[in-house]
Symmetry: C2
Subunit: 287 residues, 2 copies
């Protein structure tokens, strides 16, 4: 536990507030029903000015999540709040910027609560993850097409209702693993609780499609595939049978904060790894 992690908090309509100051009332349905959405991205402070990675793509996804939930979204206000927060931030090498939008207090219909946090990243933990992850497979209880024609299940929305994702990480930890990968009832790979899964077969990269699977559309994977294509490597979206993880030429968990991390062990079985290729794919992902 690192007691001195730096954190900054800013609230939509109010700007930067003291970090310890509570931001949600007891009747905020974001708090009592997980009714809201978030997005998260990395902030790099190595250069003269801090850089918010893929800000446009993250804001666009955040806006899509809000629209699916029927929440008003003011992109200009968010951009201003982010600029104020970053300007008020004492630079650290890597930080995570999290944007949160809830449906707001039940007593004030139509008044969403928006806030952001800027938090120093634990680089030791990040480097350890980027060196390799031990993963446990966990069933998600859904078939691979469970979210087709069922918009009320909120597939693809980066929801505040993440308790199952958090529980899956704890379940993995109980078995000595670093992370979980969810699987479907019909035998396919979904995603990790906070990351996408990328599989390599020869010179081809593959990930699970969003849409009917309900998984999040990964910004890291999209930008990784774009850069890989420039180097002549094709990335594609297709359902991946769970058994293929064991025979693949490589498996990675990709997310905006932790980066592109090779899976070195799956349910206790060692997976094929290739340090050179992992460095290439991490670079394509911006890490």
């Amino acid at each position: 536990m690192r007691a001195l992690t730096r954190q900054l908090v800013a609230v939509l309509g109010r700007g930067v507030v003291p970090t310890e100051q509570p931001v949600a009332t007891a009747d905020d349905v974001g708090l009592v029903r997980g009714d809201g959405c978030f997005d998260a991205m990395r902030v790099l402070c190595g250069g003269p000015d801090p850089v918010v990675e893929n800000l446009d793509a993250h804001l666009a996804r955040f806006a899509r999540s809000a629209a699916t939930l029927g929440l008003a979204f003011d992109e200009d206000a968010w951009r201003e709040l982010i600029a104020d927060a970053v300007a008020g931030w004492e630079p650290v090498p890597e930080a995570v910027l999290k944007l949160v939008l809830t449906r707001g207090p039940e007593s004030k219909p139509g008044a969403p609560t928006g806030f952001l946090t800027l938090t120093e990243l634990d680089l030791d933990a990040m480097h350890a993850a980027r060196a390799g992850l031990r993963v446990r497979l966990l069933g998600r209880g859904y078939a691979s097409d469970a979210f087709a024609d069922a918009p009320w299940l909120l597939g693809g929305v980066k929801l505040l209702s993440y308790a199952v994702n958090a529980a899956a990480k704890r379940e993995a930890a109980r078995h000595g693993a670093d992370d979980a990968v969810f699987t479907t009832t019909d035998g396919y790979v979904l995603e990790a609780p906070t990351a996408a899964v990328i599989v390599r077969r020869g010179e081809e990269l593959m990930t699970t499609p969003p849409g009917a699977t309900g998984i999040l559309d990964s910004i890291t994977v999209r930008s990784l595939f774009e850069r890989a294509a420039v180097d002549g490597v094709q990335g594609g979206y297709a359902l991946i049978p769970t058994a293929e993880l064991l025979t693949a030429d490589g498996v990675w968990l990709a997310s905006s904060i932790r980066g592109v991390c090779p899976v070195v062990e799956l349910d206790g079985r060692e997976l094929a790894t290739d340090a050179d290729y992992s460095a290439r794919i991490a670079a394509w992902g911006g890490f």
Copy 2:
């Protein structure tokens, strides 16, 4: 919209606080990940002292939810907080007491956030619901045994991660219905977003079993079945094929706050109703 609804807020370790005072920090994982649980019950203020209905059963279920999430639970502290809140409450005919426990701030591991709200009930809305509900069936994406041997899916826990439940109610409203009932992929009835389903076949009452279905163990149904048994009517737990809702002698949605409400219409089709029996079953449920 009723602007003058009364609400009282009390925080574990602090007691009653001003209603508008925020209670959760920006890094509280109850707020940003829906990582926590709640429970809710009715408070009746008709007599000389307010009565918290089924308090022991609700506290026991709240403690089970907390235990499944691995959250520390201090029953004595909760009882004291509830007593303080009720004592500080200006009586209204019916109120809802909601207890909320989150995993707490990410920056303070092991320090859960606990608070409660006491909120005046909108009796007009309650009476309308108790007179009859139009319901829409919505698939939940799970088979009826999806939660068997998958504790990380948190079946039976009254989670703060309720965004899908809230979205289902909005979807129902978009189709002119008052509420939704979730169904399984294999054709059975689950529960409503915030209520249990009771079906009558002749002199027998039936509800969906908790456990492998992942649904909440309804306190209203348990106490209703106990009182019905005294009158010679048996209540049981069994999977109910969705089609049976149309041919049943009656269907009700039962919950601690709204009561035992007859379903009068299902996906636009009128259901059999019996006002006398609805009054009986409501009385067994304490309404």
